[in-house]
């Protein structure tokens, strides 16, 4: 936590933005591109400023992609967990995370923030794409790929956690795929006109959810995390396999690194802006 101010510092004296603009425009023609390392970042200027306020900087846009095959036939009727699908899901994430780690370390980053997690589950393969911004404390040395973190938290969330004394460790991921149990024809007929809980279905959902959450938790614990924030969950049947249920969860594993959690002490505000209102351009667009 080198440069940068502390929370609640008095606001800086306003910059004469007109003068700054003149200086910037003048410099454009005199100044040669700097010799310092050029960076690539998909952060907004707000995110970059807030990251800089705690002494971190973006350096490069990095990604990781992996596709892992699901052996044929695994979605057919069966019982219990569809282990090869659950395994393929885990492998695809491992592959993508491993690649983004390597890209990050190669670019000189200490971690990746704002990771966009795209996953798609097909009958025969599971694809995972991760895209984020490699960041590091300003001017810091390289670290090994094994020591970088990957987080789907935004640069803003990363900064707020950092200020409060927390550190992201990595993506905690878990998924479970199970077969929805088959009801015997006799049982189905019997239940047709009744209001009853379909206990075996309930159990299937439970078991998928439990194994996914359990896997996510244990991956967080392996990383040394004491919590997982912003957990996202998806569940439901897949359109290519209606008698199977998939449940997936992922989030960022975090750990308290300061001695104590530091309070942010927010101010309350009353905003006067609405979410975008006014002219709706799309109303004029064709079909």
């Amino acid at each position: 936590m080198s440069a940068g101010g502390q929370l609640g510092d008095p606001p800086p004296t306003p910059v004469d933005i007109k003068a700054e603009l003149r200086r910037a425009v003048g410099a454009l023609h005199d100044l040669q591109p700097s010799k310092v390392q050029s960076m690539t970042s998909d952060l907004s200027i707000d995110e970059e400023l807030i990251l800089h306020s705690v002494g971190w900087e973006p350096i490069e846009l990095v990604c990781g992609v992996s596709l892992y095959s699901v052996p044929m036939g695994v979605w057919n009727w069966g019982q219990g967990e569809i282990t090869s699908a659950s395994a393929a899901y885990a492998r695809a994430f491992e592959g993508a995370i491993d690649r983004i780690h390597r890209e990050c370390a190669k670019a000189g980053g200490h971690g990746v923030v704002g990771v966009q997690v795209d996953r798609s589950i097909h009958r025969h393969h599971i694809d995972v794409t991760l895209l984020g911004t490699a960041v590091r404390p300003v001017g810091a040395r390289r670290v090994d790929a094994a020591h970088v973190f990957v987080s789907d938290l935004s640069a803003r969330d990363f900064t707020l956690l950092h200020v409060s004394g927390w550190q992201p460790l990595g993506l905690a991921v878990g998924a479970g795929f199970v077969y929805a149990p088959r009801r015997s024809i006799g049982l189905a007929m019997q239940q047709k006109s009744q209001n009853v809980e379909l206990t075996n279905f309930t159990e299937a959902m439970y078991s998928a959810r439990e194994s996914a959450m359990e896997r996510m938790q244990s991956s967080a614990i392996t990383m040394g995390g004491t919590g997982v924030v912003e957990v996202k969950v998806t569940e439901g049947p897949m359109d290519f396999a209606r008698h199977a249920v998939g449940f997936a969860a992922w989030g960022t594993a975090v750990r308290l690194v300061a001695e104590d959690h530091r309070s942010l002490k927010p101010t309350m505000v009353v905003p006067l802006d609405d979410p975008m209102s006014g002219f709706e351009a799309t109303a004029l667009r064709g079909n």
Partner: protein, 299 residues
């Protein structure tokens, strides 16, 4: 302002001759630009309509025409069938390669539209163009792609006429632009490039993607589909390299990456990656601001 630029349509010259400015900025962006000493002078645009097909002469789309050596770009990788079959139906070879003719055509379309926009900006005596929007849309069923760039040309209040060089351009406007300059970055230009990677699937890729046990008696177990993963990584890598080549030591700010896939048959596909952003140059050292004050909204 009164000189008519030769290549502009008559209507454009009439528009620029008017005393009133046109600005494509939203009101908050307009206000922020005035506040920082940028006056809008005109809404400027540039076009280029390109004939567009994925299967150029250099891009054979029938399997069997393109064996090894088909790539022209820098990236190429090949895969060999591990089974030892010889059959017309068995895809015994696989290849990924960069399709530089598509990348170049895209660059030509974007670049032409861009320089036409700059021509308009120069015609109204602008220092820069802010709030640039670019699109590359297919027009109906014409098999063409229209590159359209537009933005608001601005003058720096009370500044001398722009020097001979090109106006600077940026996707940003308003407060975001003000903050960028406050942070010590000056926009140089918008930057964009695409990469195009063609994937010719070999037997293993085909089986793994399609789950086909095939007539060859193989039951593919779970495995990573390395050929496609490799192409996906390469497409993103090449796009970043293309843009970096335009940077000449400057930085790319506010980048956006868009990836699209065109599937041609099982496993055979084109992966296209578009990367765009603002090329910016540091003109003063960064003076980090204090951590902003956290707020909670009371409504």
């Amino acid at each position: 302002m009164t000189d008519t630029a030769p290549d502009l349509p008559e209507a454009a010259n009439r528009r620029f001759a008017s005393q009133a400015f046109t600005s494509g900025l939203t009101v908050p962006d307009f206000a922020a630009c005035l506040q920082m000493g940028l006056e809008p002078v005109g809404y400027v645009q540039g076009f280029c309509v390109m004939q567009w097909g994925w299967y150029g002469l250099n891009s054979p789309y029938r399997r069997g025409i393109s064996p090894y050596g088909g790539g022209q770009g820098g990236y190429m990788e090949s895969w060999q069938c591990p089974h030892g079959f010889v059959s017309n139906e068995h895809r015994s070879w696989g290849q990924n390669y960069e399709q530089s003719w598509i990348e170049d055509a895209w660059g030509q379309g974007f670049g032409t539209a861009y320089s036409r926009m700059l021509e308009e900006a120069a015609a109204v005596g602008a220092h820069g163009v802010v709030g640039v929007v670019d699109t590359a849309d297919r027009l109906g069923d014409l098999g063409v792609l229209e590159f359209h760039l537009r933005g608001t040309a601005v003058k720096v209040t009370d500044a001398p006429a722009p020097p001979g060089g090109q106006p600077w351009t940026t996707y940003l406007a308003g407060q975001r632009l003000a903050k960028l300059i406050e942070a010590g970055y000056m926009p140089v230009s918008v930057a964009a490039a695409v990469s195009s990677v063609r994937v010719w699937a070999y037997c293993m890729t085909e089986y793994l993607l399609g789950g086909t046990s095939s007539a060859w008696g193989m039951q593919p177990a779970g495995a990573e589909i390395t050929q496609v993963a490799s192409a996906q990584m390469a497409a993103r890598q090449i796009a970043r390299e293309h843009v970096r080549a335009q940077m000449a030591g400057d930085s790319l700010h506010g980048a956006e990456m868009v990836v699209s896939e065109h599937e041609l048959s099982e496993g055979d596909q084109e992966i296209q990656c578009l990367l765009r952003g603002n090329r910016v140059r540091r003109f003063k050292d960064f003076d980090p601001m204090p951590v902003p004050h956290p707020t909670v909204r009371l409504s």
